[in-house]
């Protein structure tokens, strides 16, 4: 507890400093701007194994107040946000161009009249420089026009300070195995602070040609896995850039097209189904993944929107010989909207929606012998259902007080563990038998060199290739307190993942190293100090049931408690 108190004191000092500076900033800033209207990027920091996150709005093209109407609707997913704008009597085009590259924050009542600061000349011959994104009052990014292109720069900078009761996780807890009590790592605290999830993104949209709109989106964070020779200090402070989203998007009256690295269609990533939490996505049992892909989609309807999409994606195993395929259908009721936050991004307004999606893939795994020359085939597949329900609706991000929203996800599948962040459950390939009793280092025991990542498939006792079955569940409630238009809100999450066959496909001696069931709960409290600056605190509990039984015959379990403080400024 002493360490915890020290940690808290440090956090208090940091927070006080931040609050002081934000107050200072308020005095110098421009007049109040409208509240956020669209969700800011969903946040995630993954371990070195499985990357995966997604800006909820990163796919939206930029559009400025004076931009062509067509450019304002760069992505179908933004239609809902446009709709609420209209409902709230806040025409997206009504706001005059803001000439300065700066954040608009609500001024206190006694604030002096706004001071408009002249913009510095844009580097690329920009004609104007202003706040941007699909809505003029959205805080997402700054946009300027260069050579006829709309250029949007967006992202955030911040820090997450984390304390764990065990030394099991990196900055993301995800689906990693918890260290057992009784071991040094299971008995002791760890503290981390990371700015590696800070993010920068760039969207470029050329002028439309007829009804065809195109855009390019590139987005990076600093979560590149550090080289093994890095020291702990270096890996924290000298983090490398990581590719999150790099894709092109073309929208035509017939069909829309995405090519590049983007959220998986399985689980409808990036469409508003991520939970509100201070934890880095993906949390336990949540589908959270990005991949290079080619996706075709078609959206029809206005009040009730239906999107049908199919994609071919980079396979999880290149030796499989075929790409993964994903397909899904999503329905959104655009007149039924509610407040929605994705991870610890900025809350916005989203339409009630439901999505169903599926994935199929093929494996060709090297035969389970020392020097395989043939492969064994297997098939992986899964299905997921997602839902976003505005229980107490909200139609304006500026006034989201008393809004209550529910987000849920259920998924089941086999051979899809890579779709969940850092999930193996401890499943490994077994050691090869050693019938010749080779033990000498000059003639060592035979070993198996798999041609696929661990945790997805394995060989059972009869040397049959088996896929790991998992099913995940996520439920998330977010409630915006009736304080200052909902700028204080709370969120709670329950999620779990379990496997029906991981024990069956793991040798008995390895049962102590696998878990069959993992359970995650969190509670988060967020405060939007300004439109751009958010502070959040959270308490998270992860509990796992292992394959082995203890001396009394009960299952071996382990628990990690995490406290987290996050401070972020969005642009």
């Amino acid at each position: 507890m002493t360490t915890a108190r020290t940690f808290t004191i440090l956090a208090c000092v940091a927070a006080s400093a931040m609050m002081g500076s934000s107050a200072e900033a308020k005095k110098k800033k421009a007049p109040p701007a409208a509240a956020p209207a669209t969700e800011a990027p969903a946040t995630e920091e993954s371990g070195s194994i499985a990357p995966g996150t997604a800006p909820e709005k990163s796919s939206s093209s930029s559009a400025s107040a004076d931009a062509p109407a067509s450019a304002e609707k760069a992505e179908k997913a933004d239609k809902a946000d446009k709709a609420w704008d209209a409902d709230a009597g806040e025409p997206a085009k009504a706001e005059p161009t803001k000439p300065a590259l700066k954040m608009d924050v609500p001024a206190p009542a006694e604030a002096p009249p706004p001071v408009v600061v002249s913009a510095p000349a844009p580097v690329i011959g920009a004609t104007s420089l202003r706040k941007a994104s699909g809505n003029a009052d959205s805080p997402e990014g700054v946009t300027w026009r260069a050579s006829g292109w709309d250029v949007t720069l967006y992202g955030y900078a911040g820090v997450n300070i984390i304390q764990d009761s065990t030394q099991s996780f990196g900055t993301a807890s995800s689906n990693t195995i918890i260290q057992h009590l009784g071991t040094p790592r299971g008995n002791n605290l760890q503290a981390q602070a990371t700015a590696r999830d800070s993010r920068i993104g760039l969207r470029l949209a050329p002028p439309t040609i007829g009804s065809v709109r195109a855009s390019v989106n590139i987005e990076t964070d600093f979560n590149a896995p550090p080289p093994v020779e890095y020291t702990e200090a270096n890996s924290v402070t000298n983090a490398g850039l990581r590719m999150r989203h790099y894709y092109m998007k073309v929208e035509t009256p017939v069909v829309d097209f995405i090519a590049g690295q983007y959220h998986d269609l399985f689980g409808w990533g990036g469409k508003g189904f991520y939970p509100s939490t201070l934890a880095f996505l993906g949390i336990t049992g949540e589908i959270y993944h990005r991949k290079p892909q080619v996706r075709l989609s078609k959206t029809i309807g206005t009040d009730v929107e239906v999107e049908v999409a199919g994609a071919v994606l980079a396979p999880v195993q290149k030796s499989g010989g075929y790409p993964d395929v994903e397909a899904g259908i999503r329905l959104a009721v655009n007149k039924w909207t509610g407040a929605r936050q994705q991870a610890y991004g900025q809350p916005g307004i989203g339409s009630a929606g439901i999505g169903v999606s599926g994935i199929g893939r093929h494996f060709e795994v090297s035969n389970f012998i020392e020097n395989p020359s043939t492969t064994v085939p297997a098939t992986g597949y899964g299905i997921a259902g997602n839902v976003f329900i505005p229980v107490i609706p909200a139609s304006s991000a500026k006034d989201r007080g008393n809004a209550l929203s529910l987000i849920g996800e259920y998924s089941i599948g086999t051979g899809i563990s890579d779709m969940y962040s850092d999930l193996t459950g401890g499943l490994l390939f077994p050691a090869l038998g050693n019938p010749m009793d080779r033990m000498d280092p000059t003639n060592p025991p035979p070993i198996y060199s798999p041609n696929i990542d661990s945790g997805i498939v394995t060989f059972d006792g009869d040397r049959r290739l088996r896929t790991a079955q998992w099913q995940g569940f996520v439920a998330n409630l977010q409630y915006y307190l009736p304080i200052a238009g909902g700028k204080v809100w709370v969120a709670a999450t329950h999620s779990e993942i379990k496997s029906n066959n991981i024990k069956e496909i793991t040798p008995l001696a390895g049962w102590g190293g696998i878990y069959t069931h993992s359970w995650y709960n969190d509670a988060s409290l967020f405060v939007a100090i300004t439109d751009q600056i958010q502070v959040g605190v959270a308490f998270q509990r992860t509990h796992q049931w292992f394959g082995e039984t203890d001396s009394s015959g009960g299952p071996v379990t382990a628990t990690n408690y995490r406290s987290e403080l996050g401070m972020h400024m969005f642009f």
Binding site: M1, T8, K487, G513, S563
Partner: protein, 374 residues
């Protein structure tokens, strides 16, 4: 939102972080560390060497021992025996255990190699005897910690494990062969294998009794003003084990010594036994399931100062320390017929006049000492 609201919310938030940020509670809660005189009123019973002794016992049934849940997977021997990687070479992928336990059969059907997986097991019984030092000092001296750890473990061999080497032993024969191979292992008893319930699956389902009987001897000395004991071990190179202790008074006897609580200091294991955290030990009695030296017991809870006379494993009687008639319990290595519930009627499995699933004939082969006639 105004800054007053923001500050209030932030303070509440930070309080939450401060309140909940704490260490995991240990599975075994530390016992007392009050110290006390270990040898108050003790007599010389152990070696009859003029130095006073005292003993305490603990049993699994009394739940006096607390161990961590440390069922960690074993080190993979195949990977451990690989030559080191070149710096430019990708390291070998991690792997879990071998499905076949590294089973190697000779062409005769004998077992050439087999690795038994033995995780940390629950402590069944233990007796600690402390003696005063050679000069009569009662703050240091010698000790003997006698422990018995046992459990029935499962093994599953798939059909491919058994047939991989071109020989297909029947399951009872495989059990016998494994038993022969492991005969040198004094801690393994009653290796037996039988067909699985669903015979179409193939393979064999096996069980064995793992029983470690042993202990430590060495020297002890009080530390830190008499609230801790340092246990030095004579034989191994293990580091000295420091334990917090508390001698509790005997409620039934004014001034008498009652139970002894031991807790590994600073979360270290007691007596260097992996996962063993606390022991609540009581003075020996004639019904504690331990063969007490202090009471002069000749068997478990019998003979010596106890009213029950000790039986034998050949007297055709269900004695107190047996699970059936001349089987189980003190009759180590003699299986009982588990299909009979009444201990007074329960015969030894190898003497029940029927062929059990792990026997190769009626009361022969498999784990039975009698070989079947060819």
């Amino acid at each position: 939102m105004n800054s007053r609201h923001a500050r209030s919310a932030l303070l509440v938030s930070l309080t939450i972080v401060g309140l909940f940020g704490c260490k995991n509670e240990q599975l075994c809660k530390p016992l007392g560390a009050c110290g006390g005189d270990l040898l108050a009123g003790a007599v010389d019973f152990a070696k009859k060497d003029g130095l006073i002794d005292r003993s305490w016992t603990v049993t699994q049934a009394s739940e006096g021992a607390c161990q961590d849940q440390l069922q960690l997977p074993p080190t993979n021997i195949s990977l451990a025996r690989q030559p080191p990687n070149l710096s430019t070479q990708r390291p070998n992928d991690p792997a879990t255990a071998d499905w076949c336990g590294n089973l190697v059969l000779k062409s005769t059907g004998e077992v050439k190699e087999f690795i038994v997986y033995a995780p940390p097991l629950p402590l069944k019984v233990a007796e600690l005897t402390v003696s005063a030092d050679f000069d009569g000092n009662k703050d240091r001296g010698t000790y003997v910690m006698q422990t018995t750890i046992d459990e029935t473990r499962d093994l599953v061999f798939s059909e491919s494990c058994i047939t991989a080497q071109g020989i297909r032993l029947s399951c009872p024969t495989l059990g016998r062969r494994l038993g022969e191979f492991l005969a040198a292992e004094a801690n393994i008893y009653n290796m037996r294998c039988q067909d699985p319930d669903d015979k179409t699956q193939g393979g064999c389902v096996c069980k064995f009794d793992l029983s470690f009987i042993g202990g430590q001897t060495g020297r002890w000395a009080k530390q830190n003003g008499g609230t801790q004991i340092q246990f030095f071990e004579n034989v191994s190179y293990s580091p000295a084990a420091l334990a917090d202790y508390c001698v509790l008074p005997d409620a039934s006897q004014p001034g008498g010594v009652g139970a002894l609580d031991l807790t590994g200091s600073n979360e270290t294991p007691l007596f260097n036994q992996k996962g063993l955290r606390t022991l609540h030990m009581t003075p020996p009695s004639c019904n504690d399931g331990v063969q007490s030296l202090e009471l002069g017991e000749e068997g478990i809870d019998c003979g010596g100062g106890c009213p029950t006379k000790c039986g034998t494993c050949t007297n055709h009687v269900h004695d107190a320390n047996e699970e059936g008639i001349d089987c189980g319990g003190a009759c180590l290595g003699i299986l009982c017929d588990e299909t009979v519930a009444d201990p007074n009627q329960k015969p030894a499995a190898c003497a029940n006049k029927k062929q059990d699933p792990w026997e190769e004939g009626i009361d022969c082969g498999g784990p039975c000492p009698t070989e079947c006639n060819p």
